[in-house]
Assembly symmetry: C2
Homo-oligomer: 499 residues x 2
């Protein structure tokens, strides 16, 4: 067997183990009774060590070197490139550092749950400091293995080929645009009247409507399911994608939009290149690209007046048993509910206008933290100062709704936050291109017809897997690299011009 | 690390992979959308090859030899014995035979689905003959590795330490007892009037009643769940047991009893020795012992007049919304429904009186088949002859309801059938001992109080894992090895004396 063929066989096996691991993870979050947790944790750890051993065995390095000399197709070359990336990312880290990180993040994540609830920064501080120290060591290790800067070396593990210099540029654009824009929107929305929406929002009815909408969007139920978990997510494998939501029996608004969001993620997975799903090149491109697919569905395609015209009668029939002229149940009122803007403390509850400010704040802080320009003890003051400046919200002594609100830092996930807003901007830019390709697209979506949109996404994003770099994919799909103006125009249209 | 400690560490890892495999298998049967099947099949095959490689690696043999010289506790010794068994069972089979079997059974199982539906014996015959040939080779290989007879060498993989000589004896007892007894019961039941039971048997209501009864029996919902699958089963892991049932919205009778049956299996798993769940000695003892735990709950503890007095008002409230004096809904009528005896074609639909005859027929045939005394081409005539003799049912040219009704032979599972009836007899014998220990037991169960019964089972069966052999366990728990008279007495009491 050629070296390249050996690599494919080997990574197919690793992918098979990843399949079982993904299903067990989904099960853990959506099905497992609480008493199963300890044994499951041990089983998953064993599986993950085994997969790590398979990725890093020395033969893999030899095969990679030998395969580099072989004549390969374009996709095989891309696959070899991605295998090399997986191998380097796994082998460059000394095992004592990996172990120390597992120990520190496990302690810090556990403490975080209690500290957040108790508004307790003093207990959290030394644990977080240890995590930051180890992430700085990780950044050094990855930086010397890759010639990237310290922060870029971490960012690259979530968003390959995107650098902080590029983010700095687009984020600066947003940062100057958003605060005055936000005040304008809030001024205009202060005039709007919102009517409360009531009905029978039982879980079964919400679930049925959610599945109906998933079907309209193009979710393939032969290769996936919808279930319930504490936080909505998209898991499973491309052949069997598992999405979840959570239900509030007082209101359908958030569960249905979470379903739409996760359906965007899921259709990306379902559309990955069929011939390559068992290989690294067949995986989703990056965290930001994945988020772009969920936000494209949620924010660009569905949180629109047109889509509300489609969804509102369905929702009326689901939750009232019949259609109605009740103004609270009008598409216009529901649209206003879905596009309400507010300055708030919490990132995950934020609307799409304020969300990037939450992200930019975190991005700026974590970059300085990893580069050693600030220390963990500086965080409370910095958080308060930036929240006040960007969002007019004071967080002094409020850790619960302040810097302890997210699990990312206690979990050591430095470099992840910016991918959310990169995803939002990417979504706007891709959607704009799709609309250029299909002139009647907005009208189609207003009829619940997502065929052309999905076709365009399959063609330009999903079927590419990791074949292209992020920047190349954006060039091919939209004619330019990431540009904040599409996202800004989208916000202007939705929240000011087209109100 | 000592050789024994190395073995424990190694088999803990294998157990962790078995955990993930068990959850994924449960998922496949109860959750997976149809399109996920192919990728899942490949993933499970990879995992199973990996586990096989880990069991058979040469180091394991060395560790076993070295650990045999060490000073070990009684449980450690038993664990070493069981590790040795797992190792020998896995290593004695040549890999070309294993592969040939996988290929042949996969083809034959697939064909079986269609042949059964189409009553097509001619297509099935050569495929089954190939499976039988390979099972005969397996029997030879296992026989020479173990000094057991040909059939015993296969039986031993499901029922360690039980030999066909022992089965021949107890089955002979049943075989002479059952046919005349059956005619007596049928004569007596011909006088009984059964009233049809109607109500709102929606799935949600059946599920709620099932869970209520599971709780009464002692199922621990912190370590398990109830779901739906095509055939009821008990899967998962001791820390997280997954049972399933299926629902018929025309009648609650079979779903609830299936839940009770699987709860018996599940409580065995939940009661396995906590300190040893990650090791071979901590597993369930055998197929027959597992079946004894489900049948003890279903047939001994719950399919009784006393239990019907407990369950009937619960069922009335569940399915009618209120209690009732309607004679169709009386405990007596429901009891009669649950203890109806009929001569039929199909093993899985059989009642507890006719069931052993279905099993003995299969046992006799498969034993002769493996020992080369008969050939696959003899099966139709033999099946017809024995069905007519044991059950008065002719199966000439009826393969669908005759010898093609079970998947066991097409799947190569020779040696499995007798464990069903061994389980039924074991259940009767154990239950009789439990009643000796707790004089008020029948009354307690009639109140839905299973505490003492579960305590006795935990003490005498569940917590033993594989520490004792089957015969030793029966000696310790009941004072004698398996004896058909307990089962016969149980049948006489239920179907004649106590009617």
């Amino acid at each position: 067997m050629s070296a390249y063929a050996s690599l494919e066989t080997h990574f197919k096996k690793i992918n098979d183990l990843a399949h079982v691991s993904a299903i067990a993870s989904w099960d853990e979050a959506s099905m497992m009774p609480v008493g199963g947790g300890q044994a499951r944790g041990q089983a998953m750890a064993t599986l993950s060590v085994l997969m790590h051993e398979m990725v890093t065995q020395t033969q893999v390095g030899d095969w990679i070197a030998e395969a580099a000399q072989a004549r390969l197709s374009a996709w095989q070359s891309a696959n070899l490139r991605e295998i090399g990336r997986v191998y380097r990312e796994a082998t460059c880290m000394p095992s004592d550092l990996v172990e120390a990180q597992q120990l520190a993040t496990s302690k810090s994540e556990q403490a975080w749950r209690e500290c957040r609830a108790a508004n307790d920064w003093n207990t959290m501080k030394p644990l977080l400091a240890e995590v930051v120290n180890l992430s700085r060591r990780e950044a050094e290790v990855r930086s010397s293995a890759s010639d990237l800067g310290l922060y870029d070396a971490l960012l690259d593990t979530y968003e390959p080929d995107v650098r902080s210099a590029q983010l700095d540029e687009v984020f600066a654009d947003l940062k100057s645009f958003l605060p005055p824009f936000l005040d304008q929107v809030l001024g205009s929305q202060a005039q709007e009247t919102l009517l409360p929406v009531t009905g029978d929002f039982s879980i079964e009815k919400q679930r049925a409507l959610g599945m109906q909408i998933m079907g309209s969007l193009g979710f393939d139920f032969e290769h996936g399911r919808l279930d319930v978990s504490h936080h909505p997510f998209c898991g499973g494998v491309p052949e069997d994608v598992r999405i979840t939501t959570r239900y509030d029996t007082e209101s359908f608004v958030s569960a249905i939009m979470a379903v739409i969001h996760e359906t965007g993620h899921a259709m990306y997975e379902q559309g990955l290149p069929k011939d390559w799903t068992s290989q690294p090149v067949g995986n989703a491109l990056s965290a930001g690209t994945h988020e772009s697919q969920s936000l494209l569905m949620e924010m660009q395609a569905c949180r629109t007046k047109e889509f509300m015209n489609f969804m509102t009668p369905l929702a009326q029939r689901s939750f009232l048993g019949t259609e109605t002229n009740d103004p609270a149940w009008s598409a216009d009122n529901i649209y206003k509910l879905y596009t309400r803007v507010e300055k708030g403390f919490i990132r995950v509850d934020a609307d799409e206008v304020t969300y990037p400010l939450h992200v930019i704040l975190r991005y700026e802080i974590e970059k300085d933290l990893i580069e050693g320009k600030i220390e963990v003890s500086d965080l409370p003051a910095l958080w308060h100062e930036k929240m006040t400046r960007y969002l007019g919200v004071a967080t002094e002594n409020n850790y619960t709704d302040g810097l302890l609100q997210d699990v990312h830092w206690p979990a050591g996930l430095f470099g992840y936050f910016p991918t959310y807003t990169l995803g939002a901007m990417t979504a706007a830019q891709l959607f704009s291109s799709a609309r250029e390709s299909f002139k009647g697209l907005a009208g189609e979506l207003g009829q619940g017809n997502f065929e052309n949109l999905l076709f365009w996404l399959r063609e330009n994003v999903h079927s590419k897997g990791k074949f292209l770099s992020y920047n190349d994919l954006m060039m091919q799909a939209t004619g330019e690299t990431i540009n904040a103006s599409y996202f800004k125009n989208h916000l202007k249209e939705r929240y000011l011009l087209n109100r």
